[in-house]
Symmetry: C3
Subunit: 113 residues, 3 copies
């Protein structure tokens, strides 16, 4: 069994319709994370929420369905997470970023297959 090590969980909350260079912001963040060699990234879409603008967004209200909340989650070492921060600082206009310490176990057995 692999042993856990210290890691950081970065979570970025913003809107699904937020853009960077006319592409979805969540896509830009994931692409940048891969460019920087981070271990992985996951984008989750919420079904309802409100944020910095305090407007309510819900999948039930059709005309707002394109502005549902999204969360991008990235787990890596503290050092690797820091590499992404200048980019986030530049592109996240309205949103929230949280950082937490986590214990990490990685599995990558397929390199022999």
């Amino acid at each position: 069994m692999k042993l856990p090590e210290e890691g950081t969980l970065l979570r970025i909350f913003f809107g699904e319709s937020d853009k960077h260079n006319s592409k979805p912001l969540y896509e830009a963040v994931v692409v940048k994370a891969r460019e920087l060699g981070l271990a992985g990234a996951t984008v989750i879409r919420g079904i309802m929420g409100f944020g910095a603008d305090s407007r309510m967004h819900s999948a039930k209200i059709l005309r707002l369905s394109s502005d549902l909340p999204v969360i991008v989650e990235i787990v890596d070492s503290k050092e690797n997470i820091q590499k992404l921060m200048p980019f986030l600082d530049e592109v996240v206009q309205e949103g929230l970023i949280t950082m937490e310490k986590v214990r990490v176990i990685k599995y990558r057995h397929k390199d022999c297959g």
Copy 2:
């Protein structure tokens, strides 16, 4: 670059079909969070799960599809999170609440646009 500050991540796990005053419970929690002036809230729907009642729910089983798990996530100061607790204590009949310390960076650049 903005510096992170201490915050609390509140996560509430219950069922999508749980109600409060004949409205979805997740909606009631989000509306209450906004009324109390909390910084934001995000509702995530799971595709499968089980909880306090130990019955399995899955998006693959059609007749149970209305009882999928949901998670409501709220990030704010510990003090603001506490304001929501009496309401949760009243309305969450069956579920789970977790609290974690997180470091928070907020972006709200649009107030000048």
Copy 3:
């Protein structure tokens, strides 16, 4: 009001198309968690992501839509979480597991109904 107690949040990141005995791996993990008497489990599907294999997966790319990221979340005591680890060590071929300390409040009011 109930008081929070110490708990562990286990999060397992892998692909929606990962299998165990020809069933979805996320389903196998949830079923095992219930067998072991854990308090609950929630499966969340991402809309985009990349992981250990560094290939990008997105709901927008149809032919890859079956390999979207999933996250299984389980909250329980540290002891109960440990019961699941040997199974995860066996079945998770490629993925990431994180553990965090959380404060937990459980609600189970329906036992009288």
